[in-house]
Structure formats: structure tokens, C-alpha cells
Symmetry: D3
Subunit: 153 residues, 6 copies
Amino acid sequence: MGLSHVDKNGVKMVDVGEKENTNRVAKAHALVKMNKETIQALVDEKTPKGDVLNTARIAGISAAKKTSELIPMCHTIPLNYVKVDFEVKEDEIEIITEASAFWKTGVEMEALTAASVAALTIYDMLKAVDKRMSVEEVYLISKDGGKSGHFER
Amino acid sequence: MGLSHVDKNGVKMVDVGEKENTNRVAKAHALVKMNKETIQALVDEKTPKGDVLNTARIAGISAAKKTSELIPMCHTIPLNYVKVDFEVKEDEIEIITEASAFWKTGVEMEALTAASVAALTIYDMLKAVDKRMSVEEVYLISKDGGKSGHFER
Amino acid sequence: MGLSHVDKNGVKMVDVGEKENTNRVAKAHALVKMNKETIQALVDEKTPKGDVLNTARIAGISAAKKTSELIPMCHTIPLNYVKVDFEVKEDEIEIITEASAFWKTGVEMEALTAASVAALTIYDMLKAVDKRMSVEEVYLISKDGGKSGHFER
Amino acid sequence: MGLSHVDKNGVKMVDVGEKENTNRVAKAHALVKMNKETIQALVDEKTPKGDVLNTARIAGISAAKKTSELIPMCHTIPLNYVKVDFEVKEDEIEIITEASAFWKTGVEMEALTAASVAALTIYDMLKAVDKRMSVEEVYLISKDGGKSGHFER
Amino acid sequence: MGLSHVDKNGVKMVDVGEKENTNRVAKAHALVKMNKETIQALVDEKTPKGDVLNTARIAGISAAKKTSELIPMCHTIPLNYVKVDFEVKEDEIEIITEASAFWKTGVEMEALTAASVAALTIYDMLKAVDKRMSVEEVYLISKDGGKSGHFER
Amino acid sequence: MGLSHVDKNGVKMVDVGEKENTNRVAKAHALVKMNKETIQALVDEKTPKGDVLNTARIAGISAAKKTSELIPMCHTIPLNYVKVDFEVKEDEIEIITEASAFWKTGVEMEALTAASVAALTIYDMLKAVDKRMSVEEVYLISKDGGKSGHFER
């Protein structure tokens, strides 16, 4: 009987103590698919719970700031800014987020969390109109800073 | 100069005071796409940050409990349970979540939040191996309870 | 040497176990005083950080939901709704909030917290323009439900 | 290759949907051991960071309210009250806590969390004086309500 | 149909990446007005929920640490300290707060949040005695550090 | 009548503004005592709520990140890592935690919080089997960094 038997793949928070502070930027993407009538309601500002996009933006920014509470192995990172932008298309809303910090570890999860929670908020604000929406293509667009340098998908 | 000028589409939290407590269940879906080598690393338990799926499950359950902190117009709902299940496939992990409450309003957002945060956690636990993963098909599978009755996508 | 010596006025969370669930409504008030130019910038939507009022409304609603985290002796209360309304005047913004729950204890603190945090958010969104703003007249307008019945200031 | 291979002992949040609301009470215990000089400093109100016991009481009550954020498989429970009492002895402080709710599941974890966080706060408030303190005998004293009835240690 | 139509005044989190770390200090003010009998109850330590001022102080300090969770466009700032002081007068309690950080952006909102939540907590601790209390004169007293230098109201 | 009368032992958050950033490491200890059958259930992976140790580890790490929300006078510290290890023995589980930061103040409370919450989570995951478990010997093992240098219990 021993520890190795019951705990062989224990989770680990990466030690960032040896990493250098560098300028970190990450961009993420998400798409909320919906039917054209729902998009039209949004454009006409006839949505049942009020302003969809600014609410989603605030939710995304706020969620990015609590990434380390949501994702268990994430470090708490003091962010320089979070940006959440939307492109309203015929039958979808494209979400582009950006997070930045001068810190020892990257901010990919912050950008992805902002995108995901903004998408969920769009769903919540419009679900009385359309329950069949879906969130698609949540991914990291690019990442800068740190030892691994520039990444672009 | 007046309020209507600056505040014409104000957000609104739905009043659930008149709604009846009924048994509410919602199921949600998400998919994390990744390459086969990453799936293999997970199956072989050779992932850099340890046990991916149980960490993602705990993160999803914990996030469902704080849905009303993440989604601005959501009500605080005391949940009966949250379930997060995974199906590991050749090049993707399917996430199925379920949330339930005996309450005045539905738990769709709780199920969707559990699915999204579980997906983000899978990304975080594996991103050192594969940054090109994406989250797809986040949607509501079904919903029961309340005046609107059964919904199935 | 004894406990009574060091702990004579210990804080106490009221036991609400014997109280009945009744419909609780509370309304609160706050005022953010500012100069006319700042009001004009808001009306003209020329504020440096974007939409002031909807951001303040969302902040107020979100804060009401976490009242029991902010005010140490408050109970956690599942709210039916929170409302935050604004009246933009010549040199001030009036904030009227309303919170409601079917619960064993009142929601005064929720309404007051919504008003205070909405006011602070207005300050934050406009402080680059005007640091001399002040928050005034934060008070309970009225309260209904519970054994003590109707209260109006 | 399959799910059972990688996820054989997945965590589970108990479904409390079938359980009845009953009056739940739980009491917990903790002990902070310290040397006599440290106790004397507390009794003489000569502690470097101010009032130890009321701070610990508030911390314990606040922590009980966020038990479901701290303990992953705990349900969110709206508490009727939390009580944190202290008995200052020659070389230790005894902590007795009590939590209560009219709910579908027990409040043991709430009482234990209150006791643990009160103990940690005593440590924090006094650690400049004595780093060798320890927390001992954190246990459930008793529990009432629910199908299992009365439990006493 | 386009984005500019629906999202013309989107909120923005200021990018602090180019700003320098400097010593930041901010002081804020608030007043809780109440009748003389309520003040007397406080001085005589005959308040229904126990020690009012230390509870309010702890609430104010704790709230300052979570300012960026409450005010949507605020940055997370690791504070050097927060101070909350009270002056008990004939029919009011004056609250003076101070927050400090060595950081890229100011701590005004932290000082103001401490003052507001301390005031709300005083209200909560005394509302069984007096529901007509009001919070007045919440403002920034002074601010130091950063490019804009010293500000005094 | 004056402030000194009612507020003589006010709590104080230490000003860390003058302290230097140094490498801080703290280790803490806790013990969860239980009967041999409970240990056996854990080793055999026959526990009612699933994987006990990884859940406790995640809970401990997550709690360490929110230490400053739990312990009122603690500073918010961005951690380099948190580690939670277990040694399963005949009738107890030993918990050893470690926290680290490059910061102006120590991380003792983070290590102790990780240990305490990991212990509480073990209790929660096993309490259906054994309610008589207790947490013992929660103490600081060692501490490095800062002006006071190395401490070992």
C-alpha cells in the first residue's frame, strides 16, 4: 500500500519562478452561430434582455480577470488590458479577444476565457429568442512573448 | 438632454418571482479537437501537468456553481448536482454536462458554463503539447422543467 | 484571564431559521454629483472608457448578487431580480435600485450595494474627465415583506 | 483506447434532488496551540495586527458562506446562520463553530470550514509573535437533520 | 447591417502596459449619517450585531482587495496596504481610507471601494436600530503617484 | 465620547511598501486521521465520490490562490507555484504543501491555506464512509526569503 498506487498522475502547477518578465500578448477567437432573425433582433436593438454586445464584452473582460479562479492550474496574472471585439455577420457573431501582461507566463488562457464567457453571455442574452445557437471555433489566434516567441495559428 | 438618449437599451435581469419551482435539468455539449498524438499522450497518462480529465471535470463543476458570477444577467441558483462526462475519441474529446435544480428558472447556462470551462481546462492542461486545439460545438442538448417544458436540439 | 475579557462585543450573524419566506422588495437611492461638462460628455457619448450607464448597471446588478461576500454578517439570498435605473440630470446622475427575493430575510443590503457599486463604476468610467465627483444620498427608499412590513423613508 | 482507461475514478457531486429539506445543524471544533506569552499578548490586547478574535470570527463566518467555492464537490447552501466562538485557555484557543440551514444536504463542511479558516486567521494575526503555533483537533462535534439523524462524535 | 451600428460606444479597459511602476497612494472619504441614539448605542457597545467599527474596517479592507471584481474596467492591483479609519461624531461616523501600491495605475477605486463598503457595513450592523441612516460625501481626498502627480480635492 | 473609546484595538494590514522583492518559499503540514478501513477504500479506489487525492490537491492549490480573500489581513500575492503532496499511511494521510513567490511578503498563509483546504476536501470526499476523521498538526514546516531569513520548525 503506498502513495504511488493511488496518486500516480497528480496535477502540477508549473513553477514560473525562473521565467523572465516579458511583454505577453495573446489573441483568441470564438464564433456564436445563430439564425438570421436573431442577428436582426440584435441589430434592431429588439433583444429581450437589452444590450447584448456590451454586456458580453464586460462579461468577457471580467472573466479574463478571474481566469486563475476558473482554470485550476493557471497562475494569477495582473493584466495590462483585456479587449473583446465583435463582428456581427449574417448568421454569426465573431468574437476576437486580446489580453496582455508584463509577466512570467503567458496569457493565452485569459484571452480564451474572455472569448468563451463573452460567447456564453451572448447565448444567455438571446436564449429567449433562439435556443439553438452554438459556440464554435474557440481557439488561440496568436501569442507573443516569453521564451517560445511568436506563435500564429 | 435626457435618460432615454443615453440609455436606450439597458440590460435587464428577468424577474423570476412569479415563476414556480419545478425540477430543472439541462444538458450541454462541447468538443475539444486535437491531434492524435495529444489524445495518445492523454491515454498514456504522459501529460505535462498531470490528470487532464478529472481536473477538467472539477473545473467544470466548480464553474457551474459560479455561473451567476460569470454571466451578468444570470440568477444565483442552488444546484442539486452538476455532472461532467468525457468521451475520448481518436482526435477529439467530447464533453457532456448536466445540471439540475428545483428552482424558478432554468439551468441551461450552468450546463453550458460547465462544458465551456471543462473544455478550457483541457486546453490548459495540454497546451504545452498542442496549441492548435480548438473548442467546437458548444450547445444546449436538452432542457426540462418550467413552463416551456421539454426542449431537445 | 478569560474569554469575556478579550471578546466582549463579538459579531453575530442573525439566525433567520425561524423567519418565514415572504416576498421581499427593497429600493435604494444614490446620487453621483459631477460638473455639467462631465454630464454633457456622457450624453454626447464622448466618454473615454465607453458606455458609462450600462456598465454601471451591470456592475450594480453583479455586486448585488455578491452582497453576502462583501458585507460580513449578510446572508446569502437568491434574488428574483435586481434593477438599476438612472436619471441623468444637469449636474448629477440619480441611481434608483430595486432588489427582490422570496426569502427569510430582507434585501436592503442588496439594493444598497447595487446603488453603491453602480455609483463607484460611474466614478471609474468618468474619473479621467473629473476627479471631483462625489457620491451622495445613499439610502434605503423603501422595504416590503417580513414581519416588520412596509417601511418608507 | 477508451474513456474507461483514462477516467476510471471520476469525481462525483452527489445528487441532492430527492432529499427533503430539513433543519440542518452542524458543530465543529478546532484548537490553535500557542505558547503562554502569545496568549498573554492577546489577552492584553498587545497584538501587532489588532483584534485577533473578532477578525478570526468574521473570517470564519465569511469562509463558511463560500464553502462551496473551496470544497469542489460541495453544494451551495443558503445558511440560516454561522456562529464562531472562542475559549481562550492557558496555551491554546479553542474554536467552536455552528452552522445551520433548512436544506436538502448537511452543513458539516460549512462548520468545519468556519473552524479551519478562523484558526488560520488566528495564526495570521499572531504569526509575527509566534510562528510555531499549530492547528489541532479539527473535527465534527455533532450533526443534526436529514435522513441519518443525530450524530455525535 | 454592421458592427458600428450596434456597438458604437463599447467599453474599454485602459492599456497600462506603457505606464511606469510608481508609488501610488490614494485617500478617500465617506460619511454615515445617523441619529444620536444610534451613535450612543455604538459608543456604549450596545449594538445588536456586535462590534460595528472593526467589522466595517475588515469589510472595507477585504472589499478593496476585490475592487477589480466589482468595478468592471478596473485592473487587478496588488496592494501594499489598505487602511480604514473612523471618527465617531455626534450624529455621524466619518470614514477615511487609504490604499497604496507600487504599480502602473492608480488606486483611487480601491480607496473609494474600501470607504463605500465600510459605510455599507456600518449600515448593516446598525439597521435594526435605525433604517434612516444615509451615506454621504463619498469622494477622493487625494492621490499621489503616476504621471499626473499630486491631486488634492 | 470619542473614537478611542470604541475602536481601541483596530485591525491593521501591514504596509509592505518598504519591503524588497525576494524569493519566498513556505512549506506547511497537515494530517488527516482516519480509520484503516477508510484508508483501504481510498487505496482500492472504492470511495463514494471518486478520486480523493487529486480533488484535494486541486482544492488546495485553488485555495492558496485565494488566500487573501479568506484571511482578512493577507496581501494578494501572485504565486510562482503551489504544490500539494500526500503520503498515505496506515491510518492517516500526511499533507505537505509548498508555495512560492518573488514578492515583498511571505507566503506562509498560502501554504497553510493549501494544507487546510486539502485536508477539508479529503474529509468531504470521505465523510460518507467515516465522520470521525480529524485534521491534526497543521503547522508551518519552514519559510525562506525576506529579512527574517530561514525559519525551520
